[in-house]
């Protein structure tokens, strides 16, 4: 019998009611009295020297309050980078200044040249057209390898070339890896592109800055995954506003997928301009602006070599990757191709020797940063593609080759600096073979062939490191912040509970799943618990939601705070029941004295805490509210196995996904309905990357795909129903819930599955294709079949 509440129940989401009735409160729904609107004039040139900007005509236009340019921000801090990578020679990465409004030069299409603030959106937009400017166009660098040529144009004149860093990991492994590859019985080599993507949450970014002269208080309403991080970065590094004078609110947020982690220029601008003008200033991104100002994702070019011995055991992996940083370093950009990518190169396999080299490169493109999975999809893609290619070269079954090399004993220390605590990769592969009906594939292939279609099966495993913390480890790796999280459990007098959490829900359903945990712990109804998030004035602190960390890190803080609440409540109950504290038990919302029928209800204890007439005042304070910070000892390591069957039309190259199955191990699961939904969404984004999506620049740095007319988003008729399963559960050993995180898995595991399936389909038609770069559009697949 499935549970109807608490941990493991598929509780319906309470937040749905407001979203289904149009009563959500997204940032663009916020309108403040006397609000002004800003329109940003953005560069349509990728690289150029700003010779002249004349705003006088614009300033005279109706309704215009003020026009800001780079000059207005000369004394203001730039946007900070939150992660410093040290290169293979021990030197810090090159870190350019990142102005709020362009100063002297523009370095990518979409960079802000000027900002018009007016009393309506339309008037601001009209006036922006009256700004006169002269930009001397300079040659742009778009291709990463070209950007590293000695005579390449420099994105930043004050830096030493366009190389941000040249990272080697682990440098001490390198000689052993080179030797293992030299001595291998077989080496499979693959060169591939991990295509540049745009996260595209359906809600475009919005910022509303407000300022109160009465108490010198600034407020920023913003579409953020982590309001406290924005408060810290913007307050301390950009505008110089101390935390107690700056409130950041992220209300309902319409999806993030990483792109709303980062601190953006528009947030700083609206906060700054509201202080300057003494009126609220609002910006609502258009989708076209989003394409040229939201941080992009992926964009790696990689060569990977996999060495095997004569028995097909993996003996070494060596990779060389060029990673695009874009024109500036977005908040966490340097960490993505390094610590979120290199550390995952062992995958699910016992490969003793691994060396990863990453060259991060500046180009005249929008900054690139974390997008769902962030580094781990890039690692998984290259590894699972090269294993598939090796299996084909060696004529062995790709599933058997994987199983032969799986890590089977835990904990397992990889040669790339992480230790997997738990897992059972054979179990998820067994489950996958069952739910995907791998046995039935050959019959389905014959059916497809009878219709004139090529059918392929792709299978792979994946692992990811998430639940992003531990602070002492990430600090050693270059993070400039801690990555714990915090929760305050406030028990009200009549027993209901408000939980203030540092995690931020923008689709993940925390308002439903977090109360399930407390309901389980206290034996009270889920409806007695409310989650408060997204407002720095209400929440003690928190690092926000990304890296599949909310439940593993913030949920654990909530558990610790609840444990403190229970400990105190037991003291109160012992007093009321005139019993020893050690004999008090809490079950089903009642405190009982062990071995007796004496009991006191949860609500009577909480009332006593606030109306302490009969209360142990000499021992404990009144009130019932506890805060905990939680900093886990390790990452969590969700893992699983995915299978995809595709049909390829040999006439057109069109790929359709016929079946998709995912068997994941997320450790313990709080709400299986929500977990299913997270996996579905991740898989769809993986399908998007594999078949449809591509953020394209031309050689002059023009962004070619800047709208939904040009950037192909997955739609309802591009995807099938998915078979997902998370019944294989090896609980995480270092958080109290035993949870691992499920938000990114689908997007990490699925792109290689789909490409493996298409390659398999083409081989079944006699096309000996080694690889096709994503997205596998009909044109690319058709061309591959003609070679």
């Amino acid at each position: 019998m499935p549970k109807d509440h608490g941990i493991g129940a598929a509780s319906k989401r309470r937040e749905d009611v407001r979203f289904l009735t149009g009563t959500g409160n997204y940032t663009d729904d916020i309108n403040l009295p006397r609000q002004l609107y800003v329109h940003f004039l953005r560069s349509d040139i990728a690289h150029g020297e700003i010779r002249h900007i004349d705003t006088s005509d614009a300033e005279g236009m109706p309704g215009v309050k003020r026009v800001f340019t780079g000059k207005d921000f000369e004394g203001v801090g730039g946007l900070p980078c939150g992660w410093q990578v040290t290169d293979k020679h021990g030197q810090p990465m090159q870190e350019p200044a990142h102005p709020v409004i362009a100063q002297g030069k523009v370095r990518h299409v979409g960079e802000i040249l000027a900002a018009v603030v007016a009393d309506s959106r339309e008037r601001a937009r009209d006036a922006a057209e009256a700004i006169e400017f002269d930009i001397a166009e300079l040659p742009a660098v778009v291709d990463m390898k070209a950007a590293l040529a000695d005579d390449a144009p420099k994105v930043h004149d004050d830096l030493d070339g366009n190389l941000c860093y040249d990272w080697g990991f682990v440098e001490e492994n390198r000689a052993k890896v080179d030797a293992a590859i030299r001595e291998a019985a077989h080496v499979t080599t693959l060169e591939l592109v991990n295509n540049r993507l745009v996260a595209n949450p359906m809600e475009p970014r919005v910022a509303v800055g407000d300022y109160s002269r009465a108490d010198d208080q600034s407020t920023l309403y913003t579409t953020s995954q982590n309001p406290h991080v924005i408060r810290l970065l913007m307050g301390a590094f950009v505008l110089g506003i101390p935390e107690h004078k700056l409130r950041v609110v992220a209300p309902d947020v319409g999806g993030g997928f990483g792109s709303k982690i980062f601190h953006y220029a528009e947030e700083a601008f609206c906060t700054f301009a509201a202080r300057q003008l003494g009126r609220p200033v609002k910006w609502t991104s258009t989708r076209s602006e989003a394409f040229m100002s939201d941080a992009h994702g992926r964009d790696h070019v990689t060569k990977i070599e996999l060495a095997l011995d004569a028995e097909n055991n993996f003996t070494a992996i060596r990779t060389e990757t060029h990673a695009n940083m874009g024109a500036y370093l977005s908040t966490f950009a340097p960490s993505v191709p390094t610590w979120l990518h290199g550390t995952l190169m062992a995958g699910n396999y016992r490969t003793p020797n691994i060396y990863v080299n990453v060259k991060a490169v500046f180009t005249n493109t929008v900054p690139v940063d974390a997008y769902r999975g962030a580094g781990r999809p890039e690692a998984t893609f290259q590894l699972e593609r090269v294993i598939d290619k090796a299996a084909r070269e060696l004529g062995v079954d790709p599933i058997a080759l994987r199983r032969q090399n799986f890590v089977t004993e835990f904990p397992y220390a990889t040669p790339v600096a992480v230790e997997y605590d738990t897992g059972d990769y054979n179990a998820t592969m067994d489950k996958l073979e069952e739910i995907a009906d791998i046995e039935g594939f050959e019959a389905r292939r014959r059916e497809s062939e009878a219709k004139g279609k090529l059918r392929g099966l792709g299978v792979n495993a994946y692992i990811e490191a998430c639940g992003i913390a531990p602070s002492n480890l990430v600090g050693q790796l270059g993070a400039r912040a801690g990555l714990y999280d915090a929760a305050t459990v406030r028990v009200n007098a009549t027993g209901s509970i408000s939980v203030m959490v540092g995690a931020h829900s923008h689709g993940q359903g925390h308002e439903t799943s977090f109360p399930q945990v407390i309901s389980e712990m206290l034996g009270i109804g889920e409806d007695q618990v409310e989650i408060v998030h997204g407002d720095t004035s209400k929440i003690p602190f928190g690092m926000g939601t990304y890296g599949s960390r909310s439940l593993a890190v913030c949920g654990s803080a909530m558990v610790r705070a609840t444990e403190k609440v229970v400990a105190k409540a037991k003291k109160i109950a012992a007093h009321l029941l005139e019993a020893a504290e050690a004999d008090i038990e809490l079950r089903d919302g009642k405190f009982t004295v062990a071995g007796t029928d004496k009991e006191v209800a949860w609500g009577d204890v909480t009332l006593a805490a606030y109306v302490p007439h009969n209360y142990p005042l000499e021992d404990i304070e009144p009130g019932l509210e506890e805060t905990a910070f939680y900093d886990p000892a390790n990452f969590t390591y969700p893992a699983g196995a995915y299978a995809c069957e595709v049909e390829v039309d040999p006439e057109t190259g069109k790929v359709t996904i016929e079946r998709f199955a995912a068997a994941d191990d997320f450790g313990n699961v709080i709400n299986p309905m929500i977990v299913d939904g997270q996996v579905h969404g991740g898989i769809a984004q993986g399908i998007g990357q594999a078949l449809l999506e591509n953020c394209a620049y031309d050689e002059t740095g023009q962004l070619v795909s800047a709208s939904y007319m040009d950037y192909a988003m997955p739609r309802a008729d591009d995807v099938p129903f998915y078979a997902v399963d998370h019944s294989c559960q090896t609980p995480c050993t270092h958080n109290p819930l035993g949870v691992k995180g499920c938000g990114e898995a689908g997007a990490i595991g699925s792109p290689p599955t789909i490409v493996n399936a298409v390659i398999d389909a083409l081989h079944s038609g006699g096309h000996k294709v080694g690889h096709i770069d994503m997205p596998l559009t009909p044109a690319r697949v058709w061309a591959a079949m003609q070679d």
Binding site: K12, R13, E15, D16, V17, R18, F19, L20, T21, G22, T23, G24, Y26, D28, D29, N31, E122, N200, P201, M202, E203, P204, D252, V253, G254, G255, F257, T284, T286, R287, S288, H506, G507, Q508, G509, M673, I674, D676, G677, H680, G681, G682, I683, A684, Q685, I687, S707, Y708, M709, M713, P714, R715, A716, D717, V719, F721, Y722, A723, G746
Partner: protein
């Protein structure tokens, strides 16, 4: 600015609009009905779908002045008179057909219009009809199930086939 009047969710609504004001801007900014969302600027995403004279319309594709005298229904007017969720809305909750909720108003309005036209659509017909509504969160799995369920079909069985 021109005066414009229409019926919105059964009530007379009046306001001012420029010639270039889109219906979605009028609904959100003039009438304060912020349930209808804007997710793109090329009429691709469908977050702004409302019903105009009974038909599903992307409210970014018509000007406010074109809706003069029209019967407009938005997500705010979808629930039953007692405030409870209608069958379609309830199916979205029951089947977890929404995550961040941003595309949801348009998705619900499109789904309701589909079921008006075709009370028992197949999976393929649902996917085809919703092609103009982009969702980035759900991978569409649970949205399609919700619409199947709202039409009285066994969504779990169909999804598992």
């Amino acid at each position: 600015m021109t005066k414009v009047s229409m019926t919105v969710n059964g009530e007379a609504a009046e306001g001012e609009a420029e010639g270039r004001t889109l219906l979605v801007e009028f609904l959100r900014e003039e009438l304060g009905l912020t349930g209808t969302h804007v997710g793109c600027d090329t009429s691709q995403c469908g977050a702004c779908v409302v019903h105009v004279d009974g038909k599903a319309v992307k409210a970014c594709t018509i000007f406010a002045l074109e809706a003069e005298g029209a019967e407009v229904r938005t997500i705010e007017g979808m629930a039953n008179p007692d405030g409870s969720l209608t069958v379609v809305q309830q199916a979205f909750q029951d089947h977890h057909g929404l995550q961040c909720g941003f595309c949801t108003p348009g998705m619900v309005m499109s789904a309701a219009a589909l079921l008006e036209e075709n009370p028992r659509p197949s999976e393929a017909e649902i996917r085809d009809y919703l092609e103009g509504n982009i969702c980035r969160c759900t991978g569409y799995h649970n949205i399609v199930k919700a619409v199947l369920a709202a039409s009285g079909q066994d969504a779990d069985r169909i999804a598992a086939e």
